[in-house]
Point group: C2
Chain length 449, copies 2
């Protein structure tokens, strides 16, 4: 097999005079009377390899794929240490399309929107391949963190038969012929009952944690929301750890420890790509701010008091708006914060009711720039209270009787949280639009490829 450009540049001057084979797409060509300088990239790294070509008559153009045999030599240029003196070149897929040559492959900045419309070609741009490598590394670090901490990865189901949080924004799944639908067809549908795409793996994850102790999910989730904002996707990936025996305090500790581990490690693991993406020195600033101090923990009630003191009209019981969160993080505490103990009415039914009977053991971690990055809670483990909460929120208990049963048999305090994976990548890469950090974004009226 061949060397990747990443491995070649890592070996660097150790390879001087060695014969190697390398593959890659042409990024750039310049030439003088005697030779051509062909810059190639193979996707393994943001960095390129320069090929010195002499005696080559065939046409080579930008975007063409080359397989090059040659010898590594010390570079005469000052941009790189080593380059490859070509001895034999094979080319595939000569580029004939002028439109594409003139748009995506031009070494200039394209509008993100234009790139998105050709999502299957974005992978060949410096910008998007960088983001994808960062995304991979974050994903790998998440698995590594939980594995080393004794968590078991559970694939929670994508197709479910109930509506977790009383959402109306669910995608239905069906095999019925919609063009000729008759009302007595429903029993012949594949599952013979209602089927939806999951909005969260949490409830199933809880049942797993009540046997395995510590689990996490890393699964796609879906919302049929009509929100065409730069922060929402109809299909996105969630990371949801759940731990038996954990209270809210343990949960906050885990969430902070986890997110700091990811940020600390990604700075090192994706250094070159982040450096490339960091046009205005904002990325490393953002990342270091997360690591600098302990996240400030404040109750919701404390947050309201602070906001009222600064002259805001907000009242206890009202939801914090993103401006409020932004003010607390960026202007008041100057660090990420964890807000906990929210009023019952602001949070879902499954959160544990506190002794004050007004608040639940919820927690949200608020970051600068992106706002809420993690939301979690201690879960209501007492079956009677869980049931009365479901009634209070007017939920049908019949559909998720199994969930109530998990509280009847060997119930135990437990907690967990959810992290929007794509939103974390958006924060790390400092992208304005979340559609730039997922390979094939889906949103209202848009299936990009």
């Amino acid at each position: 097999m061949c060397n990747t450009i990443r491995s070649i540049l890592k070996e660097n001057t150790n390879l001087i005079n060695k014969q190697i084979v390398v593959n890659g797409w042409v990024k750039h060509i310049r030439s003088n009377k005697f030779q051509k300088f062909v810059i190639i990239n193979d996707g393994s790294t943001i960095r390129n390899l320069q090929i010195i070509v002499t005696n080559e008559k065939r046409k080579i153009n930008r975007g063409t794929f080359l397989k090059v045999k040659g010898q590594i030599v010390l570079s005469k240029g000052n941009k790189q240490n080593i380059e490859l003196l070509a001895k034999d070149i094979r080319s595939y897929g000569l580029f004939k399309d002028k439109y594409f040559q003139k748009t995506i492959l031009q070494p200039k900045t394209h509008s993100f929107k234009k790139l998105r419309q050709q999502s299957y070609l974005r992978f060949r741009t410096n910008f998007f391949s960088s983001i994808m490598r960062v995304r991979h590394n974050v994903s790998y670090l998440i698995h590594k963190y939980f594995h080393k901490s004794g968590f078991y990865n559970i694939q929670t189901p994508i197709i479910t038969n109930y509506d977790t949080e009383g959402h109306s924004n669910l995608f239905k799944v069906t095999t019925l012929n919609l063009k000729q639908l008759k009302q007595n067809d429903f029993k012949s549908d594949f599952f013979g009952e209602n089927a939806f795409l999951t909005v969260s793996g949490q409830l199933h994850g809880e049942s797993a944690a009540l046997g395995l102790g510590k689990i996490y999910t890393f699964c796609p989730s879906f919302r049929a929301e009509n929100s065409n904002t730069p922060r929402h996707l109809a299909e996105f990936w969630m990371v949801e750890p759940e731990v038996a025996f954990f209270n809210l305090k343990n949960n906050m500790y885990l969430a902070e420890h986890f997110i700091k581990y990811i940020i600390k490690k990604i700075i090192k693991l994706s250094y070159e790509d982040l450096l490339f993406l960091d046009k205005d020195n904002q990325i490393f600033n953002n990342l270091h701010l997360i690591l600098k101090k302990e996240f400030k923990r404040i109750t919701y009630s404390k947050a309201i008091k602070i906001l009222i003191k600064t002259g805001d009209q907000i009242k206890w019981g009202e939801d914090l708006k993103s401006e409020h969160e932004k003010f607390l993080v960026e202007n008041y505490f100057h660090s990420p914060i964890i807000i906990f103990d929210y009023p019952i009415d602001l949070k879902p039914f499954y959160m544990r009711i506190n002794k004050d009977k007004k608040t639940v053991s919820a927690m949200d971690i608020i970051f600068p720039q992106v706002g809420e990055i993690i939301g979690g809670s201690q879960r209501e483990e007492r079956p009677k209270i869980l049931l009365s909460q479901m009634k209070y929120f007017k939920l049908k208990t019949k559909d998720i009787e199994w969930y109530i049963n998990t509280r009847k048999f060997g119930t135990v305090p437990h907690s967990g949280f959810g992290l929007g994976f794509d939103r974390l990548i958006q924060f790390i890469t400092n992208m304005k639009n979340i559609r730039e950090v997922i390979p094939f974004p889906r949103s209202k009226k848009k299936i990009y490829t």
Copy 2:
């Protein structure tokens, strides 16, 4: 935070006389005049911890959750080295349900079907928690293998707008109100066009590999097949690597190297759980057979010749039945085999046509017991031939023009394969029914929780 039983048993006699806190569910209780022996498990391992309880008046029963403070002492029994002398016990969730006590929690073997019907409680059984820990470890090893080999993990889309392989067994995704559907509603559906659940991430994965070089996906896939067999699920997880510059030979090498890495490592990483699951010494036999020799590589044509020689009526061009594969693997070669170069008509449109113009560069890896475990191919990278293949198979080119475009711009030979993750777990744990190795199985007329 507390110690897990896994970490306590790992430290073992190093902990003698140390004070610790441990959490777990009661698996078993016996008592004499002076003390109770309470066996607890916390899901972190198949092994249990014995608690010695004196002076405890409160009722403790099987399934109840305990938090125990105490001192590690040398065990007087011969089943374990250490045990915990309890000083303080807190219990949660006293078990009142007699049905559950008498069924799932009884320390006897339950019918798998019965367990499946209470999928949310299966995690608390030795059998299922073992399988879940093995499943996690295999998943982790897959990520580790590809990460170390320079592959990037790509989340390919779950919701797609086309039908990859001309399947009719697709799940539709919609937000229309099916109870009051009017035929002019279709434009108001969420995506404003046909939307399906993906059957494979391959085509999207190819476009990623044509920019990033080496990628893999690890995503759910869906088939609305009416096949209620022990080998089929409507929702399952696929691992699909794809590599630019790879031909079929490279692809076979990668697949064999990959699967042997997983098998070799899981024997060590999940040793205790596999030992527990291996009732008839079949599991380790199966696993070692995979590692023993190089997979035998034979062409489809050679396979047909062998079968005809043994008196079978099969003709060239006909599909191999599972009995044929079984015969070749178990009776003829006595090892896993890779069959390659299949007739065009037996394989999907995207596989690369060989020089003989009769066969395509496809490969299937056949294992003992489970049959096909991996299917892959070199992809047709020549745009004209790809297009004529699509016409030959009567596929609508309009829907996946983007896929043809990947061949117009910087195309290059590339290859990949798909591994059914759940089927691999089924092979490793030697389970008869695939529903026993996935947390929440989905199949025709069945959404288990």
